[in-house]
């Protein structure tokens, strides 16, 4: 190990009081690694977290996969990501709290500004709040805990429920699934672990909030959700970051298992700042009569490549992907969804709405696959693009692979522009041009926002309005 690398990982291995590798930059953090990625960094993260041997090995193996795989050449431009300039692990506080007031003032201030404590009081059953690499606040309503619901950050879950984590982690998304899943598997930290016992239906959403705060941060949360038979959960994640002139990287892995007759809805309102690469792998398996729903709202980031997937493994399982992508100035949203029909009589719907404005590039990239034997399956794919000006662009890549004859598939795609006549009609009722455009866009995405709980629908519409006014950085 070189001297530089030695310095780089020194802090991670030491006790916390030596934690700061760069006191000037990380003055308020409990611990911060140096820049760059290596087996030493992976080793240090694992040791710092005091992980079992199998996890340590899993991380190292994953890093080898990451190194071995080339960067994807499809999707967006990934060549500009400077992997050596990223901080792979930052621990902002010494320990996780379950009372907001126990957080350091400046971190609490961030959450207050994001409205998370207020939202928790009003309409959430549980909240996890991740700041940089660690979940700094976590809480679940007591009655749900009593029913056997487990809602923890992933690191705590590995400590407290190692058997379940070991059983499932990396089984839905293998560590070598793709380059960024391999990276996440190597350096993951934080994320949510949820287990919903048979028959338990959680009425209010559980929410996780992901915040990148430091410049050149890499955030690699890992989420695992297991919905047991006849159970239900709605999990919502939100994400933001400050605006910096250089790039950050967010690369999560989310694995979900929905057991027979269970239902899981996973809603994302992604609003990263425009210097964040958002490269996320999300996949769920749904067994007999189970339902999996991805509601995926992508408003922020520099480049998003994310295609939430559902494997319909049991008969009559149902999958839905609702995707909104809004690409403003300097943004590329390569969003979409994948559904694989493995079992008979399975059904799916993919609805994608992409909007591009001010030179932004939006799009839909999707896969619909029907395996041999999945007879009686039905699927409908609808992808609509709205292009707001001449400089903007939208792409549609709807891959369909059907190996079974007895299926019912529908595919519709539209591309539209906001017409002068439509705008004039609304303006003749007193709406300004911006208000009229925002109304047309809100209407365009309404099939998706109407699926959201009211608070999130309001939030989504507010974010769209901000995008329309061009005031989101």
């Amino acid at each position: 190990m070189s001297t530089a690398e030695n310095d780089l990982v020194q802090g991670i291995r030491n006790e916390y009081k030596y934690g700061f590798s760069n006191p000037d930059e990380a003055k308020d953090y409990f611990f911060k690694s140096g820049r760059g990625l290596s087996h030493e960094v992976v080793e240090a993260i694992s040791q710092h977290k005091n992980e079992p041997e199998w996890m340590r090995a899993f991380r190292h193996k994953s890093l080898d996969y990451f190194y071995a795989r080339p960067l994807p050449t499809w999707g967006g431009n990934l060549a500009e990501i400077d992997f050596d300039n990223i901080y792979y692990y930052i621990r902002p506080t010494e320990k996780q709290v379950d009372r907001w007031e126990d957080l350091p003032a400046e971190i609490l201030d961030t959450w207050d500004k994001l409205g998370i404590p207020q939202a928790e009081k009003k309409y959430l059953a549980g909240v996890g709040a991740q700041y940089e690499s660690e979940v700094v606040y976590h809480k679940l309503q007591a009655d749900l805990e009593a029913k056997g619901v487990i809602f923890l950050d992933m690191d705590s879950a590995l400590r407290d429920h190692e058997d379940i984590v070991k059983q499932y982690m990396g089984t839905i998304i293998p560590q070598n699934d793709n380059k960024f899943a391999a990276l996440n598997s190597a350096v993951w930290s934080g994320g949510s672990f949820i287990y919903v016992p048979p028959g338990v239906s959680i009425e209010m959403p559980l929410q996780a909030y992901f915040r990148i705060n430091a410049e050149n941060m890499g955030q690699f949360e890992r989420t695992l959700i297991i919905v047991d038979e006849d159970a239900y959960v709605h999990y919502v994640e939100g994400c933001t970051a400050p605006i910096y002139s250089s790039d950050s990287l967010h690369s999560a892995v989310v694995e979900i298992v929905v057991k027979p007759r269970g239902r899981c809805r996973y809603t994302t309102i992604q609003n990263w700042s425009n210097n964040v690469y958002n490269l996320v792998t999300k996949r769920a398996v749904a067994y007999e009569d189970a339902t999996m729903e991805w509601v995926d709202g992508n408003l922020g980031s520099k480049l998003t490549m994310k295609y939430p997937a559902i494997w319909l493994m049991g008969e009559r399982a149902h999958g839905e992907v609702l995707s909104i992508a809004f690409a403003g100035k300097g943004q590329h949203q390569d969003a979409g969804g994948k559904v694989v029909h493995v079992a008979k009589n399975t059904t799916s719907v993919i609805t994608s709405k992409s909007i591009s404005k001010d030179g932004g590039r939006g799009g839909y990239r999707g896969l619909l696959e029907v395996a041999k034997g999945a007879s009686g399956s039905k699927s409908k794919v609808v992808c609509d693009a709205l292009i707001l000006d001449e400089d903007s662009r939208s792409d549609t890549y709807p891959y369909i692979d059907v190996k079974e004859n007895d299926v019912d598939l529908g595919h519709e795609a539209t591309v539209s522009k906001i017409g002068e006549e439509q705008l004039f009609y609304l303006m003749s009722r007193g709406l300004s041009e911006a208000e009229a455009s925002a109304m047309i866009v809100a209407g365009f995405v309404e099939p998706i926002t109407k699926e959201l709980p009211l608070e999130y629908a309001v939030e989504m519409n507010r974010l769209i309005q901000l995008q329309m006014e061009g005031s989101v950085g």
């Binding site: 003749s428 009722r429 007193g430 041009e433 208000e435």
Partner: protein
């Protein structure tokens, strides 16, 4: 001075083709004016230009509303000052319910009236007004929750135009061939709506190709529009003469139907 004063109005398309060639018209609250003319006479262009459609350029003349010229204003500002256009072909706004659209439009007007500060209408007050107006105009309840004009029948679209007029309470309403495509029942309801709203607070300009709607909306003034000009004006009896004698009798030699519509 009348509330709306139009003097020597000339309107051209982007390519320079002149469609409206010098129109003078004064319209006040408590007045119903009808503009009748053959297809292609420039009636709809005149209506669009009054409302501020960006594709129609006012090359000469003036439109003065309440003592102020509005030719430099956008459609939104004209609407905020009390102008309203009921469209011949209202546009669909998928995903936006009639209710939500109306609330936004009312709030936009209230905001403008409040010096640019938001001043949203109370939800209860809005709901009460909307239900009353729908009841009055016999607009089916379920229409309120449907997306604006999306999949509406011709009659539904026109009724909702009149509903918008009732809710937005303009001072001058222009109705562009609102009668086209309506059956007699719908026509009667639309006409009753216009009749009920014209009064101390509103005047109306009804643009039509046919005499039919004028059986229900008795105009105070009738103007015959041909070749981009008003070629004759008179009282309600003029409409009946037109019906009996046809437009040809009123069109001076050399003034054809003209381009556009």
């Amino acid at each position: 001075m009348a509330l709306l004063e139009i003097t020597n109005l000339h309107v051209a398309l982007e390519d320079g083709t002149e469609i409206v060639k010098g129109v003078d018209l004064a319209l006040d609250t408590n007045e119903k004016h009808a503009i009748m003319g053959p297809n292609g006479s420039g009636k709809s262009t005149f209506a669009y230009a009054l409302m501020g459609h960006p594709a129609y350029e006012i090359t000469e003349g003036d439109i003065v509303l309440d003592g102020e010229s509005i030719v430099e204003l956008g459609a939104d500002e004209r609407a905020q000052r009390g102008l309203f256009l009921a469209f011949q072909y209202p546009h669909a706004i998928p995903g936006v319910t009639v209710t939500s659209f109306l609330r936004s439009a009312i709030n936009a007007k209230r905001k403008a009236a409040n010096g640019g500060e938001e001043n949203p209408v109370a939800v209860k007050e809005f709901r009460t007004d909307l239900l009353a107006a729908m009841e009055h105009l016999k607009v089916p309840r379920e229409l309120a929750q449907r997306y604006l004009n999306d999949g509406f029948s011709g009659g539904e679209k026109k009724r909702v135009e009149i509903l918008q007029m009732a809710m937005l309470k303009p001072r001058i309403a222009i109705l562009d061939e609102t009668d086209s495509g309506l059956d007699i029942d719908a026509l009667r309801i639309v006409a009753e709506g216009v009749n009920a709203l014209v009064g101390a607070d509103m005047g109306a300009l009804v643009i039509t190709h046919y005499q039919r709607i004028l059986n229900y909306v008795t105009p105070d003034h009738v103007h015959v529009f041909a070749g981009g000009r008003i070629v004759a004006s008179g009282g309600a009896e003029l409409a009946h003469r037109l019906e009996a004698e046809g437009y040809e009798a009123f069109i001076p030699a050399g003034v054809g139907g003209g381009e556009g519509s």
